[in-house]
């Protein structure tokens, strides 16, 4: 499988923020999105995840390919680490959760409730969810927020394993994950330029 964007434009709140995005991401490759706050990284990821329609253009993806990790981890604080992961595993019909627990160093925490975890531990649990989805394309929105240096390295190893197994990843991040093979897409040249228009039609994009 591969991800192909053709002249994609995405909008936030009715205002186009990014336009003219065209690239192809091959299996085993990662794409790092770079751009200042508000440049549309999250909007692009949400569009690729299918949560919102493109403003124009299109992207091509096989069905059921995407696992999305947003800012929020989607954890239930009254459920334990294992219960949280098992839930997502059964929703996706993905692989058993043992591997995910080991990969993100959550075994010792497995009986704890998610509400009792630290911010970094919660984040690791949120990222472990990606492994139990069994999906090839990971869309990661600032995955390293609240992770310490050791955990960032741990996570980078997980991503590299995923890519080595033929997976893909699109990552919005400011941190250097140490993925030398990753392509970097600078969003700055793609920021939507405002075209001065007149008349009443422009208000209804």
């Amino acid at each position: 499988m591969q991800l192909t964007l053709s002249n994609l434009a995405v909008a936030r709140g009715g205002v186009t923020v990014l336009q003219g995005l065209s690239f192809t991401l091959a299996p085993g490759k990662a794409l790092i999105l770079r751009g200042p706050n508000g440049s549309g990284k999250t909007t692009l990821l949400r569009t690729l995840a299918g949560l919102q329609p493109p403003a124009s253009g299109s992207f091509d993806l096989p069905p059921d390919a995407v696992a999305y990790a947003a800012h929020a981890d989607g954890l239930k604080s009254t459920l334990t680490v294992v219960e949280n992961l098992t839930f997502w595993a059964s929703i996706y019909g993905g692989p058993p959760i043992d591997h995910a627990l080991h990969a993100l160093d959550l075994v010792a925490l497995s009986r704890r409730r998610a509400g009792e975890l630290s911010a970094g531990q919660k984040r690791r649990l949120g990222l472990a969810r990606l492994l139990v989805t069994g999906r090839p394309l990971w869309l990661l929105d600032e995955p390293t927020v609240s992770l310490d240096v050791a955990s960032v390295a741990l996570f980078a190893r997980v991503v590299r394993q995923h890519l080595a197994a033929g997976g893909l990843a699109v990552i919005a991040t400011h941190v250097d994950l140490g993925l030398p093979e990753a392509q970097v897409l600078d969003l700055e040249p793609h920021r939507a330029r405002l075209i001065a228009q007149d008349g009443f039609d422009e208000a209804f994009a």
Partner: protein, 242 residues
């Protein structure tokens, strides 16, 4: 030329600017002629006296209260199916007008009911249905007011309007079932034309036409305002982004 061309905001603004003075003029003519004919040049009812003359406001208002919701249903469906922004904004514009007509119908009904039935309010099926209709209008308008993003608001209120119409119909039926109309005498079915004698009929028709035109005037004006405010919002949003 397709009728959908008028759903283009620019075209709509042009056409409505041209049509508005004519519509306003016709509204005034119909209302002045219909109401003054009805109030001053028709005989008093042999049973109800001059109180019957409130019919010239009550019946048209009640009809428009329901028709306004029907118009909102149609424009909401047009928005959902064809994504014409003017249609969604017309639905938004019609809601307060429809609500006002509903309230006028309820108040004039109470004023009429007091001397006729000796009570301001009875839980008659028709009265109850109108009260429930007000609740639907309130909910619809509150949802519009609560959502910031205009397209999101248009989508959600359209869904509410569709579902609400089904439940409003069910409520009407349920209310009929709940109280099988103690008051369904002639005084309440005056809007069925066989019950209105000819002297009252013609001015009533003119009044109804006047209210339809009044509704059209209000909706055109309010839709134009909505389009302008929408444009203003878009311009401000652009400015913030730039």
């Amino acid at each position: 030329m397709s009728i959908w061309e008028y759903a283009n905001p620019k075209k709509f603004m042009q056409t409505s600017a041209w049509a508005l003075p004519w519509v306003v003029g016709l509204t005034l003519v119909c209302l002045v002629v219909g109401l003054s004919w009805g109030f001053f040049f028709t005989p008093d009812d042999y049973k109800q006296g001059s109180t019957v003359k409130i019919i010239y406001i009550h019946v048209p208002a009640a009809m428009m209260a329901i028709n306004a919701w029907g118009m909102m249903l149609v424009t909401s469906m047009i928005w959902i199916i064809r994504r014409h922004h003017v249609s969604a904004l017309a639905a938004k514009a019609a809601a307060p007008v429809g609500l006002t007509f509903t309230l006028i119908a309820l108040v004039t009904g109470a004023l009429w009911g007091q001397p006729m039935w000796g009570t301001w309010w009875a839980w008659d099926p028709r009265l109850t249905s109108f009260l429930i209709l007000t609740l639907f209008y309130f909910g619809y308008m509150a949802l519009w007011a609560a959502i910031e993003d205009p397209d999101t608001a248009a989508d959600l209120t359209s869904i509410l309007c569709l579902v609400g119409s089904v439940f409003a119909g069910l409520s009407r039926y349920a209310v009929l079932f709940w109280n099988q109309g103690l008051h369904q005498g002639a005084s309440l079915s005056l809007d069925e034309k066989e019950n209105v004698s000819d002297v009252f009929w013609l001015p009533l028709v003119i009044c109804i036409a006047g209210f339809v035109l009044l509704f059209l005037t209000m909706v055109l004006l309010r839709t134009r305002t909505e389009i302008r405010s929408r444009r203003l919002k878009a311009l401000l949003a652009r400015e913030r982004v730039a």
